[in-house]
């Protein structure tokens, strides 16, 4: 069977990669061990969060599928950081596990360019340093010009339950051990990481009345700009806490934890520690919050968020039963730790192409990241670029100044990972410009020019832009005093009648777009989210302008291309450590070289001089 692009793996990275490649016009095969498992949420039943919500909105702005699938399955909405600036607000939903999976599968099935192939990849077909396809375990061969590896934790994965461990990627599924061996033979830089998942609980054995309730947000926001409104009934989440008895039980079980017995060698994430880690590292805390999250509307499974563990089953049960509301809880599936291989992402270019071999793109957990959202965003990048490569188009490169996707790709390919990489807003220097609510404005037009946008989205975007411009003109051309605004309800101090445009007044925290609307009147029909987005643009305008200047300064220095440097040993005066890191990351330009860990300004000067001399 012959294709343009073959996607190996049907998780969040693989699904998004397949959809993106198909949108670009490539003929795509999506290879999965089990077609019914495509789009499965293997860990927490939630999409989004701080930083992660930005990624989902950006994937949506590029017409990806994650946001729409999340909307189709959302049974609880929460806008995190609601009280803080819009740039750090993070949309998050609890998603009905089955409905989410169904939504992903339905979207993929509706894509005419895409064929789902069921089977187990056994090896890559390679000739003359370039990939030509994938061979399956049953001997079938899929040929194609580009292959996207989105194999998640399935490469050389090992599950740990207490001191017992078995080979396997996800519980009750097999690991792709043969392909891992082949990748190791290709001499790619690989390392090991670990992650964990908490036990799943039977909701019918929880005493809900004892617990603090967290209701879904009332306002009707959705993840995708294209979703008309909420469809499903909304459920609440509940909160319990660990206590000193829980901690004692955990300490007593530590000698049977693979984390501390030496059985696990990979490093886990600092921001998603196992409960064992939390108790050990922060022993002074008297309790840790545990969120009890529903897994679905027709499902009694409960996901206890905050208690990822690989302790033995009896300890898991005892520690759960020491907490409020869980006195007689039953565990449906125990928590476990997974150790898995990942590629050092510094072996990849900014289009997620493997430098060592033509035609191979890598995405998701395989690259050392954690999270559905990070995986989906990389799937988008890898799928779009695999299609661009197969169809002879130029690479599609996301920029860290305009997207979290660009921040993540830069961080991964330049700095590598020492723990599973999770998106955080603090990773983005230009955070004030990169809001979850302006992702369409930032990216849709650009994605359109790269062939990633369908007609429906294009029409939506054109209308959105037109409304933005119309409203901006009205705001900028209006003229009012603080007295006017006070009559409109703004809680401003009297400042002797200075007049400003509505746009300029919006940088005062007391002034809201509704006050301007009262004074200006007669505003054409503009969608509420356009008003909110432009209101935030105005509020942060002075800071964004300052960042623009910083960015322009930085760009002027950093655009110096470093393609001619083949080996950093040829640059005089760099330390061996810097040479090793630069040779691994192979930064494309001086700006990227400055992001490589441990590279000093003096070293950058040396690199700059060398590059100028070589040019």
């Amino acid at each position: 069977m012959d294709f343009d692009v073959i996607i190996v793996g049907g998780g969040h990275a693989g699904s998004e990669a397949a959809a993106a490649a198909a949108r670009m016009g490539a003929h795509v095969a999506l290879l999965s061990m089990d077609r019914n498992q495509i789009g499965t949420m293997s860990c927490n039943p939630a999409i989004g969060g701080l930083g992660k919500g930005h990624l989902v909105r950006e994937v949506d702005a590029c017409d990806g599928l994650m946001a729409r699938a999340a909307d189709a399955a959302a049974i609880h909405h929460r806008m995190l950081n609601k009280s803080k600036g819009a740039a750090v607000q993070g949309p998050r939903v609890q998603a009905d596990r089955l409905r989410y999976r169904d939504a992903v599968q339905a979207t993929l099935a509706a894509e005419p360019n895409l064929q789902i192939v069921e089977g187990m990849a056994s090896r890559l077909i390679v000739r003359a340093g370039a990939v030509e396809g994938v061979e399956l375990e049953d001997g079938r061969r899929l040929t194609g010009r580009a292959v996207v590896l989105a194999t998640g934790t399935f490469l050389g994965a090992r599950l740990h339950f207490g001191l017992d461990s078995i080979e396997g990627g996800r519980i009750e599924e097999r690991a792709a051990t043969a392909m891992a061996a082949q990748l190791r033979e290709l001499d790619l830089p690989m390392a090991r990481l670990k992650t964990g998942t908490p036990p799943r609980l039977d909701g019918r054995t929880i005493d809900w009345a004892q617990l603090e309730r967290q209701a879904s947000d009332e306002d009707g926001w959705t993840f995708s700009a294209m979703t008309a409104g909420r469809r499903l009934p909304q459920l609440a989440c509940f909160i319990t806490r660990t206590n000193t008895t829980t901690h004692d039980i955990i300490r007593d079980g530590l000698d049977r934890s693979p984390l501390f017995s030496g059985a696990i060698e990979g490093s886990g994430p600092r921001y998603c520690p196992s409960i064992e880690d939390k108790v050990l590292r922060f022993g002074d805390r008297d309790g840790h919050q545990i969120f009890l999250e529903p897994e679905g509307l027709d499902d009694h499974l409960i996901y206890p968020n905050g208690i990822s563990t690989s302790l033995p089953l009896d300890t898991q049960r005892a520690m759960l039963r020491s907490m409020a509301g869980l006195r007689s809880v039953e565990i449906v599936r125990p928590g476990y730790a997974v150790e898995y291989d990942h590629i050092d992402p510094r072996a990849l270019d900014p289009d997620l192409r493997l430098r060592a071999m033509g035609g191979i793109y890598c995405a998701g957990q395989l690259n050392g990241t954690t999270g559905y959202e990070e995986a989906a965003a990389q799937g988008l990048v890898a799928g779009a670029n695999a299609a661009a490569f197969a169809l002879g188009k130029s690479p599609v490169l996301w920029d860290r100044a305009t997207s979290y996707i660009g921040v993540m790709i830069d961080d991964l390919t330049l700095q590598g990972v020492t723990e599973p990489y999770r998106m955080l807003t603090a990773r983005a220097e230009y955070r004030l410009r990169l809001r979850a609510d302006n992702s369409g404005t930032r990216l849709t037009g650009w994605a359109l020019s790269n062939g990633l946008i369908s007609n429906d989205r294009r029409m939506f975007h054109v209308e959105h832009e037109a409304q933005r411009e119309a409203l901006r003109t009205i705001w900028q051309e209006s003229d009012m005093s603080s007295k006017d605004l006070r009559t409109a309800g703004a809680d401003l101090k009297d400042d002797s009648g200075v007049r400003r445009s509505g746009w300029d007044w919006l940088r005062f925290p007391e002034v809201e777009p509704s006050h301007i609307a009262t004074l200006v009147g007669n505003i054409p029909l503009v969608a509420n989210d356009v008003i909110a987005e432009l209101g935030q643009d105005a509020r942060y305008a002075p800071y964004v302008e300052r960042q623009e200047q910083e960015l322009a300064r930085l760009r002027a220095d950093s655009e110096l291309r470093l393609d001619r440097i083949m080996d950093y040993r040829s640059v005089g005066g760099l330390s061996n450590e810097m040479i090793e890191r630069l040779n691994k990351a192979m930064p494309a330009d001086l700006g990227r070289a400055s992001q490589v860990r441990g590279v000093t300004p003096a070293a950058l000067t040396a690199i700059m001089l060398h590059a100028r001399r070589a040019a």
Partner: protein
């Protein structure tokens, strides 16, 4: 290069060890221990010298690389022969000016501030310059900046915890860092209020001013101890500015003789000179005024010249005579007293203009953070401040903030 008792030849880089074995035909001596060896040119077998040599394996060396030092006899011919022989060894070339320092900087052995100070140390001419350069080279400012950066990182971590992990486990909803910011800003402002290092390095500008023919050039020559300026009875002899460096009591001064100030000159060239003189007076650190005391510029030291032939009223600060030398010691003492006010104290590190501008940028950003209520905008201002400190010394990047963040908070659902 004059002949000297000994000459020290330094080799830095990956071939430093090879060079020792090549020239001595013996294994490397123990690290950091002086060894007496015969140096033989491996090209022709001729003896070059008998020398002390030292072997410093990297990276804990001055340059961060392997390092060899040959302490040879200091005759020009000896040093030339050793240098020629070294230049012929594979992979070796003569060092460029400042290259050892540059490599130390590249390899992170010293930071930018210490490298600047090393340049100042090598160029120091006065005792005050030497002491100050040494303070800076030993990292007095670097340590202060490191401490400020550590404070900022900790504060940023607290803000970022609230922004990125709000509601997760033991991270609260809000954070008040204003007290820490006020403290940090106070310290930066104290550094900024101190005298700048340039006065120390370039010298204190002392301008001799007054009407024509007041004896400025005579005093200028007397202070310098040589006839640097033309002296005559003709009013308006000095037309341009004459600058001469001078040291008194371990302080560097620049003594400046200028045209006499008068309003009735018709000479176009003299008028230009008078204009320059006024500007020199305006930018001077010290003005020595030789003229009617009542017309002295504010803050000037009012001198009564020619005290050997004239008497002065009590509205002058000091009477002196360039001719007899009376009062010159007292003037020198006054200049030293002014210098001590205008230059950093002996135990105090001072900022140069580049450093002061960056610290001022950080201080302004912290002021912005103090006036912003929104933690997002506070975090943005602290990012700007951290960037200024990074430019001062080297670079830390976001990763340092994450280390601070994850070390302090238990995070994660």
């Amino acid at each position: 290069m004059p002949p000297a008792g000994i000459g020290v030849v330094r080799v830095s880089g990956q071939h430093a060890g090879d060079v020792i074995t090549a020239l001595t035909a013996r294994p490397l001596p123990p690290p950091r221990r002086a060894a007496l060896r015969r140096l033989v040119d491996p090209g022709n077998g001729r003896l070059l010298d008998e020398a002390l040599l030292l072997w410093f394996p990297g990276p804990a060396t001055a340059t961060g690389e392997d390092l060899a030092e040959f302490h040879v006899h200091g005759g020009r011919a000896v040093i030339a022969a050793v240098l020629d022989c070294l230049a012929a060894q594979p992979g070796l070339r003569a060092a460029e000016a400042g290259e050892f320092t540059r490599r130390a900087l590249l390899n992170g052995r010293i930071d930018l501030i210490e490298a600047e100070a090393l340049g100042d140390l090598l160029g120091a001419e006065t005792e005050a310059q030497r002491r100050h350069a040494l303070l800076m080279h030993e990292g007095m400012l670097s340590r202060a900046v490191d401490a400020w950066q550590a404070t900022l990182l900790a504060l940023s971590a607290r803000l970022e915890a609230v922004l990125d992990f709000s509601g997760e486990d033991d991270v609260g909803e809000g954070v008040d860092i204003s007290r820490d910011l006020v403290g940090l800003r106070g310290e930066l402002e104290r550094w900024l209020s101190r005298p700048r290092a340039e006065r120390l390095r370039d010298g204190i500008r002392v301008v001799l001013a007054g009407p024509p023919n007041a004896g400025k050039s005579s005093l200028f020559n007397a202070l310098l101890g040589r006839d640097a300026a033309i002296v005559s009875e003709i009013a308006g002899t000095t037309r341009d500015m004459i600058e001469a460096p001078m040291q008194i009591g371990g302080h560097a001064f620049v003594l400046i003789d200028v045209a006499g100030l008068r309003d009735d000159s018709a000479d176009a060239i003299e008028l230009i000179g008078i204009d320059r003189a006024r500007r020199a007076v305006a930018t001077a650190d010290v003005v020595l005024w030789l003229g009617e005391p009542a017309q002295a510029p504010a803050g000037a030291l009012r001198l009564g010249a020619q005290s050997d032939v004239r008497s002065h009223g009590d509205d002058i600060d000091l009477a002196l005579s360039a001719h007899s030398g009376d009062g010159l010691d007292a003037l020198a003492a006054q200049l030293v007293a002014r210098a001590e006010q205008l230059t950093p104290r002996p135990d105090e590190a001072a900022l140069n203009t580049r450093q002061a501008a960056l610290i001022a940028e950080a201080s302004d950003a912290i002021a912005d953070a103090l006036s912003a209520g929104d933690p997002l905008l506070q975090a943005e201002s602290l990012r700007v401040a951290r960037g200024a400190f990074d430019s001062l010394t080297g670079r830390a990047g976001a990763e340092a903030m994450f280390d601070a963040l994850f070390g302090a908070f238990c995070i994660g659902k």
